[in-house]
């Protein structure tokens, strides 16, 4: 196992509104190793996208990073200002967005946009930039890339556009790519192709991915590790296969139980009761307690991080315990997802 390239420590992102300060991301920590894919899972409003934007320093007012560190190869991105941060974006750390229909500028040719992206970091000739763009398109499996460079976004399908976006993200071989639900807007078959492509790219180029998604099916087929978020906090982390096979946190268990594929046709799907709490009035202690089937008297106090022998952890007073694995301690504060 390799060392972590991206290490997020106790990240806090807040939005100052008239009604008070909303902690959209409240003490999130995780690590991603070289060439590995971390699935950042959660419902809408769990803070997973805001985490992604915070890592790239793309939080806009009234939002701000209130604390914590984002270490990219040991360098804290939250301390970088202005042009120094701009030079990291796209070169060292890149991002792919949810809706491929919206992320490419509709009035500029693909080539124009890619050449601008190349030349944002490398002072190369237009021709050289064009060649690199073409190679990048070929690398993500786009047929006849020369023609695509001359096309406008509306002439490409959604899947093709998302491949272009991934190609742009890969242009400068960044250490990490944050992908914010990039396959949510695509057909399932296209989604499958893209996921396979991303897996191959991560293995071949060594680029690490943080794959933000609400779709557990995507994570189970793609990610090495999983980080489950709820109401701005990481509630469970561990190797993807383990977490899906035997979730420790009741919330993860609830999410897994509501995946349709796991059930007989016609059977009523179990749901997690209630809905995601508003960030404006989170319950004291464990935010999930009001919806939790295992909630007990201790849940009104902040739950501890329980670490298990297999490297997994859960933010819970009463984690679901399997026979093989009892909690080791409740002292560690850092989630380890890689290694």
């Amino acid at each position: 196992m390799s060392e972590a390239v991206l290490r997020v420590k106790n990240l806090q992102t807040q939005f100052k509104t008239r009604t008070g300060t909303l902690k959209a991301v409240d003490g999130v920590s995780f690590e991603v190793g070289r060439g590995r894919i971390l699935g950042l899972v959660g419902e809408s409003g769990s803070g997973k996208s805001v985490t992604g934007y915070s890592i790239l320093g793309l939080i806009e007012a009234p939002g701000e990073i209130a604390g914590g560190e984002v270490l990219l190869n040991g360098r804290d991105l939250t301390r970088l200002k202005g042009d120094a941060m701009r030079r990291m974006r796209g070169a060292q750390i890149a991002m792919v967005f949810q809706d491929p229909m919206m992320t490419l500028n509709p009035v500029l040719k693909i080539g124009t946009q890619m050449i601008a992206a190349v030349r944002a970091h490398d002072k190369v000739s237009r021709k050289e930039a064009w060649t690199r763009s073409r190679d990048a398109l070929a690398k993500v499996g786009i047929p006849s890339p020369e023609e695509r460079l001359d096309a406008y976004p509306h002439q490409l399908s959604g899947g093709m556009r998302q491949r272009v976006a991934i190609a742009i993200a890969l242009l400068h071989s960044p250490a990490v790519i944050i992908a914010d639900e990039p396959t949510t807007a695509l057909d399932v078959s296209i989604q499958g192709q893209i996921l396979a492509e991303v897996r191959r790219l991560a293995d071949e180029t060594g680029t690490a991915f943080v794959w933000v998604t609400h779709d557990l099916a995507v994570v189970s087929s793609l990610a090495d590790d999983i980080c489950v978020m709820y109401a701005g906090r990481v509630v469970e982390t561990g190797a993807a296969a383990d977490v899906i096979a035997s979730p420790r946190h009741p919330y993860t268990a609830g999410l897994l139980a509501s995946v349709p594929a796991e059930h007989e046709p016609g059977e009523r799907l179990p749901q997690v009761p209630g809905s995601t709490p508003s960030l404006a009035n989170l319950p004291a202690g464990c935010a999930f307690a009001p919806r939790c089937f295992k909630a007990g008297p201790a849940c009104t106090t902040t739950p501890p991080v329980q670490t298990f022998a297999d490297g997994r952890s859960a933010l819970c007073h009463y984690p679901i315990e399997s026979d093989s694995c009892q909690p080791l301690s409740s002292t560690s504060t850092t989630y380890r997802s890689a290694s």
């Binding site: 790239l56 793309l58 042009d83 701009r86 030079r87 990291m88 974006r89 796209g90 070169a91 890149a94 991002m95 967005f97 809706d99 919206m102 992320t103 490419l104 500028n105 509709p106 009035v107 500029l108 124009t112 946009q113 601008a116 992206a117 944002a120 970091h121 406008y152 509306h154 976006a165 742009i168 993200a169 242009l171």
Partner: protein, 324 residues
């Protein structure tokens, strides 16, 4: 593309025919020009002779077809007052209005787009708020009043610039223009700025609205995530996306400035087409009015055609629709 052009030209012809009917009817309804033209004390015989000479004794439909027939042969008639062919009358005034309108549009564009971009880029800064306040003044305070203030300040009080009229002209590209000399500029700058103010306010608001919208779009966020500098984000992504509404308004404003710079031309005593049409209306010089209005329609049709062609260049999605 060819099909698109043919379609547009046919549309233009229909618009011009419809307009000629409306103009002709409207002018006919205003009143009998003979009453204004001759001394009320003159004899009935002279009156009859004049009516016959101008063909006013014929029916409206007959008059219309005579007019249309002449127009197709390039003859828009002769002014009742000046006794000159209308075409050469309008043409002699055209360069003055053209240079005034173009200078005004240039001032409005060169100031309006950068100011609007800034106001949209940093909407919360005090400078953006000042720009927006200025833009409200620009299109809400009446033109004639600002014109008078400009004259009071720069011509009367400071004595830097002439208070009205047009500077010496020289022949540039076959047109008699005054912008060839520095002295000519000293005459044109005040009326041009006066005429530009309304358009300046409009362009600032339009540019700002487009900029704020585009700045919050996903592709701007994506461009920033690629590490593009802010200059590149605005210059490459924002500017091209906001240009369609700007080009539309630019075209319309250019047309209306050319046609209806009347107020400014009057205040600054600028010898352009606007003054000509106002003078013609007061004396019911029917051929000038009709010819002028039809020329204005022609001008708008041409400008709109150019604007449509520019759209295709700016937005590839429009190009596809036009071709299919």
């Amino acid at each position: 593309m060819i099909g698109f052009l043919i379609q547009r030209v046919l549309q233009a012809v229909m618009v011009m025919i419809a307009m000629s009917v409306i103009v002709f009817l409207g002018v006919y309804a205003i009143g009998n020009p003979i009453d204004v033209m001759i001394d009320p004390a003159s004899s009935q015989a002279l009156r009859e002779a004049l009516i016959q000479r101008y063909g006013l004794d014929r029916s409206l439909i007959e008059q219309y077809f005579v007019f249309m027939n002449n127009m197709l042969h390039g003859d828009l008639g002769e002014s009742f007052i000046y006794r000159l062919p209308v075409i050469s009358l309008i043409w002699s005034r055209f360069p003055a209005t053209l240079e005034l309108a173009l200078t005004a549009m240039m001032i409005a564009t060169c100031l309006g787009i950068p100011l609007g971009l800034w106001a949209g880029y940093k909407p919360d800064s005090w400078s953006a708020k000042a720009i927006m306040a200025f833009s409200v003044l620009g299109f809400s305070v009446p033109t004639f009043w600002i014109g008078l203030l400009l004259i009071m300040t720069f011509a009367v009080e400071l004595g830097w610039l002439p208070s009205g009229g047009r500077g010496p002209v020289s022949n540039i590209l076959g047109l008699n223009l005054s912008i060839g000399s520095l002295e000519g500029w000293s005459y044109i700058i005040l009326p041009a700025f006066n005429l530009a103010l309304f358009k300046l306010g409009l362009l600032i608001r339009l540019t700002r609205a487009g900029t704020t919208e585009v700045m919050s779009s996903d592709y701007v966020r994506f461009a920033r995530a690629q590490g593009l500098s802010e200059g590149k984000v605005v210059g490459l992504h924002v500017l091209k996306n906001i240009s369609i509404p700007i080009v539309t308004v630019f075209g319309l404003e250019l047309g209306s400035t050319l046609a209806f710079a009347v107020v400014t031309e009057t205040v600054f005593n600028w010898p352009g087409m606007g003054k000509l049409i106002i003078d013609s209306i007061t004396v019911l010089d029917r051929p000038v009015m009709v010819a002028y209005l039809i020329l204005v329609v022609f001008l708008f049709v041409i400008i709109n055609l150019v604007v449509d062609l520019v759209y295709g260049q700016l937005d590839p999605r429009i190009r596809v629709k036009a071709a299919s």
